[in-house]
């Protein structure tokens, strides 16, 4: 039971990461590697802020803003600097590694005996697992609602159009560079928020906690898509990312339960994502084969 609750809570906390990457990977239609730097950046900023006496709420906000700033850098490199998007993300991600060390002053930082969003007197009556689920659920509901509403504004539609057909968007007077930068800032803001949340829940931030996060985020998106296929509104698709994030955590719990080591998790993550990516294609082929036989 504890494991299940933990998976749900973790799923909620990691979900902003999936939602953030959804904005770039699915809507703008490119893989943004900045994620791997932004996630630990959000964590480092939040944890260092809390250690310096900032309230957890403000610290979480700072982590989010730091993430958005990283998105701005990648966005400028890509749109104004004409650096290919993969490389732009990798450049920012690499630079952030040093910045994170500077922010924390060391390679990791603990929140031992310090307040976090999940250990506030207000929620003192709840066991830790439940307070994580409660806060996570409230936050992710707010995030999904806001993102869904945003996507239905004129600005949001111009953002979607930019990812869908940049040429057409420009011919309608949409500033596609501005839209791309805005999308990267929003996405990385959410990812910074995810880093801040996960670090507070873990009780520490580590400069290496970003490794493999793009795989985690993609896994939430793809698992959500594979499990809930069919015609869906954009809002529904955002919700499937949250479910994808929870399912992914369940799978990890399961994998640990059948005897894998925590050290194996990156390999397992990659295998899960690889399978989820291949599944639609494999399924189709299998279908074809079966039809041929009949």
């Amino acid at each position: 039971m504890g494991m299940i609750l933990s998976a749900i809570g973790q799923g909620f906390l990691w979900a902003p990461l999936g939602i953030g990457l959804f904005l770039t990977f699915r809507i703008l239609d490119f893989p943004d590697m900045t994620v791997e730097g932004t996630f630990p950046l959000g964590a480092a900023v939040a944890v260092t802020s809390i250690s310096n006496g900032v309230s957890p709420i403000m610290a979480t906000l700072f982590g989010t803003l730091a993430g958005a700033l990283a998105g701005l850098v990648t966005g400028l490199l890509y749109t104004k600097g004409k650096v290919p998007i993969l490389l732009a993300g990798i450049l920012t991600m690499t630079a952030i590694y040093s910045i994170n060390l500077r922010i924390m002053g060391q390679s990791n930082r603990s929140l031992l005996n310090l307040p976090t969003l999940f250990h506030t007197p207000l929620l003192g009556f709840l066991p830790n697992n439940l307070s994580v689920i409660l806060i996570g659920a409230v936050l992710i509901t707010i995030i999904v609602t806001l993102v869904a509403l945003f996507l239905k504004t004129e600005l949001g539609q111009a953002f979607i159009a930019t990812g869908d057909n940049a040429n057409m968007s420009r011919s309608l007077g949409i500033n596609t560079d501005a839209m791309t930068i805005m999308g990267l800032m929003l996405a990385n803001g959410l990812i910074g928020l995810g880093g801040a949340l996960v670090a507070q829940n873990n009780g520490f931030s580590d400069v290496n906690m970003g490794v493999g996060t793009i795989v985690v985020a993609l896994a939430s998106i793809i698992i959500g898509e594979v499990v809930f296929s069919g015609d869906m509104s954009l809002t529904d698709r955002l919700i499937t990312v949250v479910f994808g994030s929870i399912i992914y955590r369940f799978v990890l719990v399961l994998v640990l339960a059948i005897g894998f080591d925590a050290d194996d998790l990156k390999l397992v993550s990659a295998v899960i994502l690889g399978l989820a990516l291949m599944l639609p294609n494999l399924g189709q082929r299998l279908n074809l084969r079966l039809k041929e036989r009949n």
Binding site: T153, E154, D164, N165, S171, L172, G173, N175
Partner: protein
């Protein structure tokens, strides 16, 4: 008569100061008046697309000036000119956003050249009825597919939608860049007739590139022929009406 477009000595030189230096638009002077429907002919590389790109702002002039609706737009970029100018491309894939629905595409185009704000896109029932009416003008079933992603439409429907999107908010100048060329003959003829009807009905000022000689003669009230980056022929009214396909072919063979 109101002047919608004026090009003064418009010149584009590519690969300047290299061995491959080439003048692809050569001191072109052109005035298009309100209500003109100009068809543009010319063989490949004659400068038709260059002319359109220069007018639309996707290609900068090396020298010369461009006025759109009385305003000097020589140094304005592509997106800044979209307030005055709308364009339909040859490739149906270029003109619409494939994952967005027909209604969403029409909504996007309604604000061509305007600032996109953080307010609801306003897809109300009333708006939906309005969009339905707009789509219905095409008479090709588009009106019944408002909620279908445009990627699922036929090429003809997509191109008709692209045309609607370009004319939804009346542009000072409409550029049609071989917009029926990728369609099968029947659909192409249908869209061409619809285009003509719409241009007449809304008194649009339009320029249309085409490779179809009979379309060029049948439609529009003025005909330009481009050759080597220059305007080699410019006829209007009765003079244009008197032209035959044979005459045009002879004319082309000379260049």
């Amino acid at each position: 008569m109101e002047t919608k477009l004026q090009l003064i000595d418009a010149t584009v030189v590519v690969n300047q100061a290299t061995a491959e230096e080439k003048t692809i638009l050569d001191h072109v002077n052109l005035t298009v008046n309100s209500g003109d429907f100009v068809t543009v002919l010319g063989s490949n590389g004659a400068g038709k697309s260059t002319l359109f790109n220069v007018i639309a702002g996707s290609l900068a002039l090396t020298s010369g000036q461009i006025y759109l609706g009385g305003q000097d737009v020589t140094y304005l970029g592509e997106t800044e000119r979209t307030k005055e100018l709308a364009r339909v491309f040859q490739d149906p894939k270029l003109g619409t956003a494939p994952r967005m629905t027909v209604a969403e595409n029409l909504l996007l185009a309604e604000r061509r050249g305007e600032k996109r704000r953080l307010r609801s896109r306003g897809l109300t029932e009333k708006k939906r009825a309005e969009l339905r009416e707009i789509a219905d003008q095409m008479g090709n079933g588009l009106a019944d597919r408002l909620d279908v992603p445009t990627g699922q439409l036929s090429g003809g429907q997509r191109q008709a939608l692209a045309f609607l999107m370009a004319t939804e908010k009346t542009p000072e100048l409409l550029l049609l860049d071989e917009h029926t060329a990728a369609l099968d003959p029947k659909t192409s003829a249908q869209l061409m007739a619809l285009t003509d009807a719409q241009i007449k009905k809304a008194h649009l000022t339009a320029m249309m590139i085409t490779h179809n000689l009979s379309d060029a003669l049948q439609y529009g009230d003025r005909l330009l022929v481009m050759s080597n980056g220059r305007i080699a022929m410019d006829v209007t009214g009765a003079e244009k009406d008197a032209l035959t396909i044979e005459e045009m072919l002879t004319f082309f063979n000379r260049y």
